[in-house]
């Protein structure tokens, strides 16, 4: 019974048309491009390698390779001929020094192994700027940058230093004869010895000038301070003693006025005796400071100016001529009354680059008699003078400048009018750039004077009036370099060594009889009498107009106008002013706010994005894409990718400086766009127009879920009021499970599946993280990178969520006005009517969208070292196991890469090595570079492809501490145990120690009411504690 039915796929087939027949014959509709793959016939025939030869070669090389594998390599070891006394192979030495690169100033300790600096740590002996931020932590890698200039260059040809000095001296003398100017254009050195050297130079060459140029200028603040206090500097602020902090567009937890204020701020943020500081932030971009604020008011820059003027009138007095929207006026009035109440404990700061704004703030703080405000010991780490720079450019174009000597600056990249500068540079008879890199300016100069890294240099710095730091080399110069000061000595005809020069100067003028060696050992020195070493070498702008009180506020209010969108330029925690752009650690460092790396972007508010039809989308892989926007400032056009930023004030946009460099950078590091082109008049605030541009940009963003979705057990938080008045069970309840129909706390042993292992003997390590003290600065991320040889994977891999950071700082936005409102919303969901008004499905969808002005929370997450670890039970080869000391061990050589552990980890802290990052040329970062490899920590394994890795709680450091104690035969004191992250945290947010030592800080923190564990309901019993975030919010 055969069927007569005929099946056909299309009408054509039924009709038996010719096309069907043709297609039947062709298996592939499109022709397979075999030629492309094999090459054309002619080439094939021309080749002398036959197929048989090819197979022979393959067979032979395979056999040879496998034979060679059986033979162990012969390893040569070369000991010293004469071993230096201080170096014992395998034992680290620490040296105190100071970084002063013109943007970052900090006293640091440098860890060296076998003479190689491998890590930067905080200098706890230093009273000022003893904390290293993310960039300073990463700066050690800059030493091993393979693109450094290796010898002095004349044009493109390497020359010797003797040629360099004789030629330049000759030209300097010629310039002197010609009566033209000799100008030093330098970064802020704040160095007593450099100032003295330049003044000595001026004695020899009377027509010499010194112009200080900061790429990111604080000139307005400096001018305001100078007018008021007759001294060029920046007021010092101690936020640890302030009870009410009000900031107008000042990211004082970031790089505002030189940075370094975060550790003081954090001290005041930990609730003590029911009190903590209150922080109110008025700003347009979402900054670190804004993210940490108790109350954040998003305002466009012009509104900020008005609000500041208003606040001035409310506190200092005087009329306010301007109109503020009612709700903002209300906020300002509330702020003023809070400041009033705080009295001397209140403080106001601003980051608006406007002399009037800065003056207004100084006046308010004077009026408040703020204790946190100290104009007597001004900060000296910013000395740039915009007007002097502008005059210089004009002089250069006019041909008045005969010789231009630049050090630590890259004006051709950082100046908005770089073309004017380039034009002027051509008019000079002599141009010298002291630079570590063949950057834009160095390439355009006649001579590149190869400069050493700060870890190879001598020097001194006065960070704050009377607070000095010493710079000492920690390694011999890797290349044929000379620092600016050494060459100055040569030009001055002085044949002492620069180190001796510093020593003599310090002994005679700074140390007041104290020991130089002690100061060198400590890395810092505080002068008791704080003698005035005023830098009189710098060209000061003479046209300071005395402004009577109140006039500044009026001028500020009238200047607050805007046309269209307002752009605020800012610096990112990871990139700063861009001088470390060739540092892969910093490129891969995710921005604390946007969690995006390898890029800068225009931050736009959701409302503006909707209006301008700018979108952010996720690809199927989870990678983030964003539209391009074209922005125009005074006719300068720039196309930038867009990120929609919750909390961005509507009508304002933000863009980070420091990106878009190309000269002297590896191709991978040439990321982003150069925002300095928009930095006109050294003003971070610009009026711009934004239009949508074609195309989508691919971002490398490591966090896709931006909101907590009401899961209050991940970040527990409460308000100061509830914290002070209620029991722990109200705001930090331990989750419960049902046992025999009774609610039992999940931490109690009877509901546990596992038998508890007794850890009461020996050490039991715990890491405590205080969410109140953590500002999200990310110093710990880079410190972990350096300590644990974490590879850099590059933008493409980050897009595939293959980032390798052992320690990440999650950032969450609230979906409603606050996280508490999120929780309330979630609790109110109706489980049945999914899409109804209270429906859970639609409701959760809403919770995914961050609020326009969200609360923000930072949470550092690393391996939680669970005592009942889910990863350990699923490893088929027992590569991960638990130690008695509480650490979750990972034996890389045992791991076979099944990745079960990562899948079973509730915290997503395990990282898989997809590639041999240290041996694959596709990853041209520090680990694939003979020079870059010098930074690798020899105590930690460099992991191979195909294995899991994760935070080890720095077991190499705890083991070393234990061994040292064993060798000395002593008991370990509290504070000796440290991890890389805890020792990098200058804010005191991370505390590490032994909880079996009942007197230790971390053991006491474990008993603290604010303590909770991440996802406690899972029952993993982690060894990382978190401390509930308390916000000082007011109803």
């Amino acid at each position: 019974m055969s069927s007569n039915k005929k099946y056909w796929k299309s009408v054509e087939e039924l009709k038996e048309s010719s096309i069907v027949e043709t297609l039947k014959q062709n298996e592939f509709v499109n022709e397979i491009p075999t030629d492309e793959f094999l090459g054309d016939k002619e080439t094939l025939e021309a080749s002398s390698t036959t197929r048989r030869d090819f197979l022979k070669y393959v067979g032979f090389s395979t056999a040879a390779a496998s034979l060679a594998a059986c033979e162990g390599p012969v390893i040569k070891s070369i000991p010293y001929v004469v071993q230096p006394d201080s170096i014992i192979p395998g034992v680290a030495n620490y040296y105190a020094t100071t970084i002063a690169d013109g943007f970052d100033f900090a006293s640091v300790l440098v860890k060296t192994r076998e003479g190689r600096p491998i890590k930067i740590e905080n200098n706890n002996l230093a009273a000022t700027n003893g904390g290293a931020n993310a960039r300073v932590n990463a700066s050690v890698l800059g030493l091993y940058d393979s693109l450094r200039v290796q010898s002095p260059m004349k044009g493109e040809n390497p020359i010797s230093w003797s040629t360099f000095t004789s030629e330049t001296t000759q030209k300097l003398n010629a310039t002197k004869e010609a009566g033209k100017q000799i100008v030093f254009l330098t970064q802020t050195y704040a160095s007593p010895s450099t100032s003295k050297l330049i003044s000595e130079f001026k004695e020899k060459y009377l027509n010499a000038k010194h112009v200080v140029y900061d790429a990111v200028s604080e000139s307005a603040a400096l001018d305001a301070f100078q007018t008021k206090y007759n001294e060029r500097g920046l007021a010092d602020y101690d936020f640890s003693i302030a009870s009410t902090i009000v900031a107008f567009g000042a990211d004082f937890l970031g790089d505002w006025q030189g940075g370094g204020f975060d550790s003081g701020y954090s001290k005041g943020r930990i609730p003590k005796n029911g009190k903590m500081s209150r922080h109110i932030q008025f700003e347009s971009n979402m900054s670190l400071a804004g993210a940490n604020a108790d109350k954040r008011v998003p305002l466009t820059p012009s509104q900020q100016k008005l609000a500041l003027a208003k606040l001035h009138s409310l506190i200092v007095g005087g009329a306010f001529s301007g109109s503020l929207p009612a709700h903002i006026e209300k906020e300002v009035q509330a702020t003023a009354s809070e400041l009033d109440k705080a009295g001397r404990n209140g403080v106001v700061v601003t980051g608006i680059q406007d002399v009037n704004a800065q003056t207004v703030v100084l006046e308010i703080n004077e009026k408040l008699e703020s204790k946190a405000f100290n104009p007597k010991k001004p900060i000296r780490t910013r000395q740039g003078n915009d007007k002097a720079v502008m005059t210089l450019i004009a002089d250069m174009k006019a041909g008045k400048v005969g010789a231009l000597i630049m050090s630590g600056v890259n004006p051709l990249y950082t100046l908005p009018n770089a073309s004017d500068f380039a034009e002027g540079l051509k008019n000079t008879d002599l141009s010298v750039a002291f630079s570590m890199k063949a950057d834009e300016t160095a390439l355009a100069s006649q001579y590149i004077a190869a400069a050493p890294h700060y870890l190879e240099s001598w020097g001194d710095v006065e960070i704050k009036k009377g607070h000095f730091g010493l710079i000492q080399p920690t390694i011999r110069p890797l290349f044929d370099t000379k620092q600016f000061q050494e060459v100055l000595l040569l030009w001055n005809g002085n044949d002492v060594k620069y180190s001796d020069y510093v020593k003599t100067l310090w002994n005679s003028e700074i140390l007041e009889g104290a020991s130089f060696n002690q100061a060198l050992h400590d890395g810092s020195f505080i002068s008791q009498s704080s003698s005035d070493v005023v830098d009189d070498t710098v060209e000061a702008s003479q046209d300071n107009v005395e402004t009577p009180s109140g006039s500044a506020a009026r001028a500020l209010a009238t200047s607050a106008t805007s046309k269209g969108m307002e752009l605020t330029l800012y610096t990112k925690v990871g990139m700063g002013d861009g001088q470390q752009a060739n540092n892969p650690w910093l490129q891969e460092f995710p921005d604390p706010i946007t969690r995006t790396s390898w890029d800068n972007y225009l931050t736009v508010s959701a409302a503006d994005a909707k209006r301008l039809e700018l979108v952010n989308e996720h690809e199927a892989t989870g990678a983030l894409n964003g539209s391009y926007a074209e922005i125009t400032v005074n006719g300068n056009k720039l196309t930038v990718p867009v990120i929609i930023q919750p909390g961005q004030a509507t009508g304002s946009v933000g863009l980070a400086l420091g990106y878009g460099r190309s000269a002297g950078l590896k191709e991978e590091m040439q990321t982003g766009v150069n925002a300095y082109k928009l930095y006109q008049g050294f003003n971070t605030i610009q009026d711009i127009t934004v239009t949508k541009a074609v195309g989508m940009h691919e971002f490398a963003c490591v966090q896709l879920q931006n909101t907590l979705m009401g899961r209050g057990d991940i970040i527990k938080e409460t308000t100061l009021e509830i914290f002070n008045t209620s029991d722990r069970t109200v705001w930090n309840a331990i989750p419960t499970v049902s046992l025999n129909h009774e609610e039992v706390e999940v931490t109690s042993p009877e509901v546990d599946l596992w038998d508890e292992f007794d850890r009461s003997i020996g050490h039991h390590f715990n890491l405590s993280i205080d969410l109140n003290a953590c500002t999200g600065c990310g110093a710990c991320v880079i410190a972990c990178h350096a300590e644990n040889n974490v590879p850099v994977v590059g933008k493409e891999e980050i897009r595939r969520s293959r980032d390798m950071h052992w320690l990440r700082i999650d950032r969450y936005y609230s979906s409603e006005e606050s996280f508490a409102a999120d929780d309330a919303k979630k609790e109110g969901f109706d489980g049945l009517g999914l899409f109804s008004e209270n429906g859970s499905l639609g409701g959760f969808g809403e919770l995914e969208i961050a609020s326009d002005n969200p609360q923000v929370a930072f949470q550092p997450v690393m391996c939680q070292h669970c005592n009942h670890a889910p990863c350990e039970t699923v490893c088929p080869v027992a590569a991960t196991s638990h130690g008695r000391q509480g650490q979750n061990h990972m034996a890389y050589n045992r791991c076979v890469g099944t990745r079960y552990c990562a899948n079973n980890c509730p915290y997503k802290v395990r990282r898989f090595n997809w590639f041999l990052y240290n041996g694959n040329d596709e990853f041209d970062y520090f680990m694939n570079d003979d020079l870059g490899r010098m930074v690798i920590n020899p105590d930690v394994t460099v992991r191979s492809r195909g294995v899991m890795e994760k935070c080890s709680m720095c077991i190499q450091k705890t083991q070393k501490t234990i061994l040292d104690a064993k060798r000395d035969g002593r008991v370990i004191k509290d504070g000796e145990f440290q991890t890389a992250c805890s020792s990098a945290c200058s804010n005191g947010a991370m505390v590490f120690g032994d909880i079996n030592d009942k007197e230790s800080k971390v053991a006491k923190l474990l008993e603290d009411d604010r303590m909770y564990h991440l996802l406690e309901s899972v029952g993993t019993k982690p060894n990382v504690q978190y401390h509930t975030k308390v916000r000082n919010t007011k109803a």
Binding site: C70, G72, V74, I75, K76, S77, I78, P79, Y80, V81, V82, Q83, I88, P89, G90, V91, D758, S760, I761, G762, A879, S881, G883, R884, Q885, Q887, H889, M890, A891, Y892, N893, R894, D939, V940, T941, V942, S952, I955, Q956, Q959, I962, L963, A965, K966, R967, D968, G969, R970, V971, I972
Partner: protein
Amino acid sequence: MKKSYQSLEVNSINNMKKVIHRKLGINILHLGLVFLLTFSTALSAQEGDPVNGKAIFNANCAACHKLDKKMTGPALRNVEQRLADSEGLDREWLYAWIKNSAGMIKSGDAYANKIYNEYGGTAMNAFPQLSNTDIDDILAYTGAEPPAPVKEEVVDDRSNPESDTSSNGLILGALALLFALLAGALYLVNKTLRSFAEVKGVELVDQPKRKPLWKAFVENQFLILVTAILFLLASAYFVYGYFMQVGVNQGYEPVQEIHYSHRIHAGDNGIDCKYCHSSARVSKHSGIPSLNVCMNCHKSIYEVAEGTQAEGLAEYGVDYNAEIKKLYKAVGWDDVEQKYTGETSPVKWTRIHNLPDFAYFNHSQHVSVAGVECQTCHGPVEEMEVMYQYSPLTMGWCINCHRETNVKVKDNEYYTKIHEELSKKYGVEQLTAAQMGGLECGKCHY
């Protein structure tokens, strides 16, 4: 050298015990020798006892002076005569110089200052404890004629073994011939017997052909199966054994750039391991000694004793003195001028003990804290002419030791509390390294 002395002494003591009357003869001999020597030297130098002088010289002067070679100080052969001839200085000057050279330099003595400057501004140690008689003795010793160089009678040791092998060959050849003759004889006998049998008409019964053994074996499937299994098991055993030794370099004994004999340094001379490998006490690395450590001794030890040199040539085929010259070249030491040239060529040693990168090992933990002898892991280094890897350095080997070794807790305050609590918990008197946590993965792998 030292070792041979020791054995000599032991022998003589044994002899003394056994045949006590011999002692008399030896004593007489000794006496005679002393008498002869005193007599002869008394003739050559008017005063001073060269035998005593030699002892004093070796105790006080030899660290910086040699008789015929410039070292830290000048060569001292015939120093008195030389000074008298060239500088016109007498013995009184020498007394004063030896007792307080610094004082003489200060006082502005011309020759004293000349010598001081010639030797790089380093003053000679003062020897106020030496009496004039002692100095007389020393000068007597320095004034003695150098012993006539003993003609080296090099015995060609190598000819002996060669003749041995040739005689062996001869014997073997003779034996082979004998066997061949025997086999031939047997064949002839057999043939003769057969021919006899044929002649006599005796029927030689051919035995029925049995199935050959191999055929029977091949046809028995059970046997084949068993053999195959056995064969597979055996090969698996050997393959496993082969793979397990890949990367295990036990017995690795590479030839080094400079032939350094641990036997002489650590064995014969009894130098403590940690004198050279000093970082083993404080660091994870034991450290290959830098060359300046070698020069601490080899600045004055520019050649080995004759016996040692001969032993080296004969037994190991090594010219020790040439090896010392290699050291001088590497460190840039000019032995003639007694100064550093500054031209160094660091030694590229071939590393013998090498743990994989993923295993963390710390010497100081074992050497300083646990007090483990170096020989426990490195074997009898003091007997090794050429250093080799004694232990397998495998993880199993590490773990066995950690299981068996007790933690050394005595007088170590760090362990007091933890040991008290842990030993109570485990109910043992002494905790092993394993019980202390020495088997946890993360202790060595991170």
